[in-house]
């Protein structure tokens, strides 16, 4: 006691806690530092490039032009169009795959002959490489001449159509929904399987109808799973590039923001300065969306604080 009398007991505890907190942080640091370096550095560069006039395909020197790239961006009709396509594509693909995924999960959450096999069939599209999904749908399903869809429609007397060029956006959405419905189905299936059977049993004993049970017990129970599905789906689907590349090549009405920004730089225009300005705008939009998404996530983690 005498030797440590300069430190009160409280201070000693505090010092120990501090040391402990530091020790606890150590396992986290490699992942954190790696993520910061690899994911954040590029944006610092983009921020700087956005103020330059810089064409990648000429030797003209870079020039500082302030906010001109940004004011130009807002006046660019194609950028606004791409923003609209992005919203339409993401929202419809996420909603449709969540709805179908939930319905299919309900269908599979019962014992029946071949249950596991049917589940295996349904998850397969999620595992297929997006580039392959795009190519196979474009050339074998939607194709005008020997496409399966037109062939089926012909059998019932409907004329063949050029699906991809008539409905560029919606053909892409169909392929996205095909790939992401299984993912949503997996999440919802986990949700359904986590439902306590005693509650369902009790509802049955009380004579609750099937629909009442669904809307008043199952659906509220599934809510966090639905939110999780929407969140994860949005994160991935807002970045779609491969499907557009393979199906329409960015043809009319199917260029979303990632595709558009890419075309400003490597894709065609080599307008590095302007492409960087667009990138920053996209990042700002992403931060706003992320803020909203993280609030949803925060709700999911609630109750774990204690």
């Amino acid at each position: 006691m005498t030797s440590t009398s300069t430190l009160s007991r409280d201070e000693q505890v505090k010092a120990l806690q501090k040391k402990d907190a530091r020790r606890r942080r150590i396992p986290l640091l490699p992942a954190l530092i790696f993520t910061i370096v690899v994911t954040q550095t590029p944006f610092v560069f983009s921020l700087y490039f956005g103020f330059l006039k810089w064409r990648g395909n000429t030797t003209a020197p870079r020039e500082w032009i302030g906010f001109k790239n940004y004011t130009d961006a807002f006046q660019n009709m194609f950028f606004r169009e791409a923003a609209w396509v992005s919203i339409l594509m993401t929202v419809s693909a996420v909603l449709l795959s969540v709805i179908f995924g939930t319905l299919i999960a309900l269908l599979l959450d019962r014992k029946f002959f071949g249950q596991g096999f049917v589940r295996t069939l349904i998850i397969t599209p999620f595992l297929v490489m997006p580039v392959v999904a795009g190519l196979v749908w474009k050339n074998q399903m939607f194709s005008f001449n020997f496409g399966v869809i037109n062939w089926v429609l012909n059998q019932v007397g409907i004329e063949s159509r050029e699906w991809v060029s008539e409905f560029p956006l919606w053909t892409i959405v169909i392929v996205l929904v095909w790939q992401w419905t299984p993912f949503m189905m997996l999440i919802m299936l986990a949700g359904l399987q986590g439902q306590s059977s005693s509650v369902l049993e009790a509802a049955k004993v009380d004579g609750a109808s099937a629909s009442a049970t669904f809307f008043q017990i199952t659906l509220p129970h599934l809510r966090p799973y639905l939110e999780l599905g929407v969140l994860l789906g949005s994160i991935y689907l807002i970045q779609v590039y491969d499907h557009i590349f393979t199906i329409t090549g960015g043809g009319p009405g199917s260029t979303n923001i990632p595709f558009f920004v890419n075309q400003r730089s490597f894709g065609a225009a080599f307008a590095y300065g302007s492409a960087s300005a667009y990138s920053i705008l996209v990042v700002i939009a992403a931060i706003l969306i992320a803020n909203f998404g993280l609030r949803v996530l925060s709700g999911l983690l609630e109750g774990e604080e204690a």
């Binding site: 907190a21 606890r24 150590i26 396992p27 986290l28 992942a31 790696f34 993520t35 690899v38 994911t39 590029p42 944006f43 983009s46 490039f49 269908l107 019962r110 029946f112 295996t120 069939l121 349904i122 998850i123 397969t124 595992l127 297929v128 490489m129 997006p130 580039v131 392959v132 190519l135 196979v136 050339n139 399903m141 020997f146 399966v148 095909w178 997996l186 999440i187 919802m188 299936l189 986990a190 949700g191 059977s197 049955k204 099937a210 049970t213 799973y225 999780l228 970045q239 590349f245 923001i257 595709f259 890419n262 960087s276 990138s279 992403a286 969306i289 992320a290 993280l294 999911l300 983690l301």
Partner: protein, 285 residues
């Protein structure tokens, strides 16, 4: 409705039950059909593939031989698969090596603001990759990393790390605190706590997480085509370049697409039950 067994909402033996089972089968077959059609067309000749759909034909391996043949000077199948295998394997191992300790620090011995840190990881997934591609290209070029496996290994690790940390954290959170405390009281070292208490519980979660990393890394196309077009090109690039999209190419395309898809599809089939647990149960708890 039939007898009161444990089956949810609709009974199994009623007519409605049979119809729902039938519906499930129909939906399953429809979802699988494009994949089935792709694999099937790979065994056709070009003439058969470029004709009205037909299930009856004389299967041939001709297309598989054509697309896997050596192509001096061009990206051939063996090269693309080797590149993909190395890049996916190493990036997944690296990702796990970084994510497991991080998940430990966010759940079992949580740091003060673990929620904020977790949100930071997830928030990086919202940043569009396309917005980073130009600086990435320039940095990679400056460091002489373009067209190397190392570049994609680093980028895929970073791409999958947030999801891995997130999923693993939830698996670690499922380890009962009492178990760890009991081990501590028994005087178990940190090392034996990890190997004998924590690992057995989280091992299935680690497997599910690693599998998801493998799927996303194997299928990644955008970064690969922007940064690695001449050397160290991966399978998605090979699919796009192995086939000439002129004249009749459907059978060849199908063969190449089938080969490219097969490894991940089989892995996914084998691990689907774990994935169900891993994706949602882990993510929400």
């Amino acid at each position: 409705m039939s007898q009161g067994n444990t089956g949810p909402v609709v009974g199994q033996r009623s007519l409605g039950g049979y119809l729902l089972s039938l519906l499930a089968w129909i939906v399953g077959v429809m979802f699988f059909f494009p994949v089935f059609w792709m694999a099937l067309s790979g065994f056709k000749t070009e003439a058969e593939a470029n004709a009205d759909p037909s299930l009856i034909f004389d299967p041939t391996l001709e297309q598989f031989r054509t697309v896997t043949a050596d192509k001096p000077g061009l990206l051939d199948a063996a090269e693309a698969f080797a590149n993909s295998a190395w890049i996916v394997a190493i990036s997944t191992v690296l990702c796990m090596a970084l994510a497991i300790p991080a998940a430990y620090a966010l759940s079992i011995k949580p740091i003060g603001k673990w929620k904020d840190v977790l949100f930071f990881f997830i928030s990086t997934k919202f940043l569009p990759i396309v917005a980073a591609i130009l600086p990435l290209w320039l940095i990679a070029d400056y460091l002489d990393l373009r067209n190397t496996r190392l570049l994609l290994i680093i980028l895929y690790t970073a791409m999958n790390l947030p999801l891995a940390v997130w999923m693993l954290r939830s698996f670690f959170a499922e380890v009962p605190k009492e178990l760890i405390e009991a081990a501590q009281i028994d005087g178990a070292s940190l090392r034996s706590q990890i190997t004998s208490v924590i690992m057995p519980i989280v091992a299935p979660g680690i497997a599910a997480t690693a599998l998801l990393c493998v799927i996303f890394a194997w299928n990644e196309f955008y970064l690969a085509i922007q940064l690695n077009t001449s050397d160290a090109s991966t399978v998605p690039i090979w699919v796009n370049s192995a086939v000439e999209f002129q004249g009749q190419f459907l059978a060849q395309l199908s063969a190449a697409a089938t080969l490219a898809t097969l490894p991940v599809v089989i892995a996914g089939w084998l691990a689907q039950k774990r994935m169900i647990r891993g994706l949602a149960m882990g993510a929400i708890k």
